[in-house]
């Protein structure tokens, strides 16, 4: 896939074999993938790396999916989360994390469908992020900083937004 943007994905699921194959396929499609096997690991990974989309299993030992996505969004507010739910747990999921998640998908997910949803989530992330970025850049210009100050402020912003 040539015209595909480089989407950075964070996978979080305690089913390691599943992630192994899922990562391989997504990598092959040209996406950047980081696989983590618990909420705690995911949050650790999100400290040093920026992601566009996280795919999070709802039911995990330790920190569950809802908690994980909340914490992830604290460090990376534009990150879009796709939450995988087993059947029947979708209600609890909807109650506890309605605003947070980009979409809930039933396990086992259909791979093609997952890819489509990832792409949609990425698009949404870029839209929000760009709007916000533009707003803040305008803010900086308006603030009347000198050229040097502006450059520094923008580079700080870039860092925050994970834009290279």
């Amino acid at each position: 896939m040539k015209d595909q943007p480089n989407i950075r994905i964070l996978l979080v699921d305690d089913e390691e074999t599943l992630l192994e194959y899922l990562s391989k396929r997504l990598l092959k499609q040209g996406l950047t993938v980081k696989a983590t096997f618990s909420g705690e690991q995911a949050i650790e990974a999100a400290k040093d790396e920026h992601f566009d989309v996280a795919v999070v299993d709802l039911k995990m030992p330790g920190m569950d999916g809802v908690e994980t996505q909340k914490t992830l969004k604290e460090t990376q507010p534009f990150l879009q989360c796709i939450v995988l739910t087993g059947h029947g747990s979708i209600e609890t999921a909807l109650e506890s994390g309605q605003q947070e998640a980009f979409q809930y998908l039933l396990k086992p997910v259909d791979y093609d469908n997952l890819v489509t949803v990832i792409q949609e989530a990425y698009k949404k992330k870029m839209e929000i992020q760009e709007t916000k970025f533009r707003e803040q850049v305008e803010e900086i210009y308006r603030s009347g900083l000198g050229a040097h100050g502006i450059r520094k402020a923008i580079s700080d912003l870039r860092k925050i937004y994970g834009i290279a």
């Binding site: 089913e15 599943l18 194959y21 396929r25 029947g88 997910v109």
Partner: protein, 382 residues
């Protein structure tokens, strides 16, 4: 002279007494007749040999026989097990009366009729036994309800177990699906494979993926069915939900000459109900309609909405293959499907029915083989 008049008086008195006895007898007979005609119970009388001499209307209703049918029959011939019935009658005649629960009679048309029976000796003025009277209460329906309850209980238990199993199977299923997907990718690019081998392996990997999806559909549907959460009400527009359901089925509609014709009311149809449950219902009806139309080659599906003061009505009408008359009463049965393995689970309509019931609505349908089918869901506005 005096004795004559006293005789006259005596005769008059006897006559009067007789007349009043006659009236009493008449009344008693009327009373008896009334009981025999109107009691729901089966009441019979036999002579000393067990030959039927009277058989009530209730008996006729319960066993399907008229008096003409049974006149001259022995009562134990009506029982499913005449021998043990005979024994029971003998005990009863010795003890004066007996009660037996749950005795089986045979219906004229076949089938078993269960009764609780009490028998009483019929005696004459000298206290000699001249026959037997039996009062039998038909408990067949009651027994059936009890059996149904037990079965429903067992079904519910099976449902819970099945849901648990389906849930557990989902995880390995997901792994199989991903692994086979990956295998397909690798085989597609592997070097050193002969074209035939590559083709074979690709085909095999695809087949595994395909069958995994099939399993997933089953587990999802089963879990849908078993899920028993209370409906979560929100307000939404039925038209939006219908459009959303259709778009979910886009992949199914691709490459098929099926026309979907939306005959919606002009104004939005806002109701307060559970949209996620209702979406399942819509998707199931549309999926079935697509299949029915495709079986025929091509056709159209009409989705129509209407509203009364308290209800909304959504009709899914297709001009597909239709449902043969003899199948029409079975389509809501669990696991009933006429589709080839892999195409049907027989869970769709039972799920629809459960959900619609939960939402306080009803489903009706109408189908002509070869012409088409329409399913109508009617649910309350709130």
């Amino acid at each position: 002279m005096e004795s004559h008049s006293s005789l006259q008086a005596e005769l008059k008195r006897v006559k009067q007494e007789l007349a009043s006895h006659k009236i009493e007898l008449h009344q008693t007979r009327g009373y008896l007749q009334c009981i025999l005609q109107n009691s729901e119970d089966m009441i019979f009388a036999t002579d000393v040999d067990g030959m039927l001499v009277s058989f009530s209307m209730g008996g006729g209703k319960a066993l399907g026989y008229s008096w003409e049918d049974v006149a001259g029959m022995r009562v134990n011939d009506l029982a499913e097990d005449p021998v043990s019935f005979e024994q029971f009658m003998t005990t009863s005649s010795q003890d004066g009366s007996t009660v037996q629960l749950d005795l089986a009679f045979r219906h004229k048309e076949g089938g078993t009729v269960y009764c609780d029976v009490s028998m009483i000796n019929l005696t004459n003025r000298e206290g000699q036994r001249v026959g037997t009277v039996g009062v039998c209460r038909d408990i067949t329906l009651w027994k059936k309800i009890q059996e149904d309850l037990v079965r429903i209980d067992r079904l519910a238990e099976i449902g819970r177990i099945a849901a648990g199993v389906a849930h557990e199977i989902n995880n390995p299923l997901a792994v199989i699906g991903e692994a086979s997907g990956w295998a397909g990718v690798v085989v597609g690019e592997a070097k050193g494979l002969s074209p035939e081998d590559r083709q074979e392996l690709e085909k095999a990997a695809k087949e595994i993926s395909h069958q995994t999806k099939r399993c997933r559909n089953i587990t999802h549907q089963l879990l849908d069915f078993a899920r028993d959460s209370a409906p979560a009400k929100t307000e939404f527009d039925v038209h939006d939900l219908l459009k959303q359901s259709i778009s979910l089925l886009k992949p199914d509609l691709k490459h098929t000459p099926i026309e979907i014709d939306l005959k919606f009311m002009p104004e939005p149809l806002r109701i307060s109900s559970d949209p996620r449950l209702l979406e399942q219902v819509f998707v199931n009806f549309i999926t079935n309609a697509i299949y029915a139309v495709r079986e025929k080659g091509k056709g159209r599906i009409e989705i129509r909405t209407a509203k009364t003061d308290s209800d909304v009505e959504i009709t899914f009408k297709d001009n597909g293959i239709g449902i043969p008359a003899e199948n029409q009463q079975k389509i809501f049965e669990l696991f009933y499907s006429t589709k080839p393995p892999g195409k049907g689970t027989g869970l769709g309509l039972p799920i629809c029915r459960n959900i619609v019931k939960k939402l306080g609505g009803i489903i009706s349908f109408d189908s002509k083989p070869g012409v088409g089918t329409s399913f109508t869901v009617r649910i309350p506005v709130s």
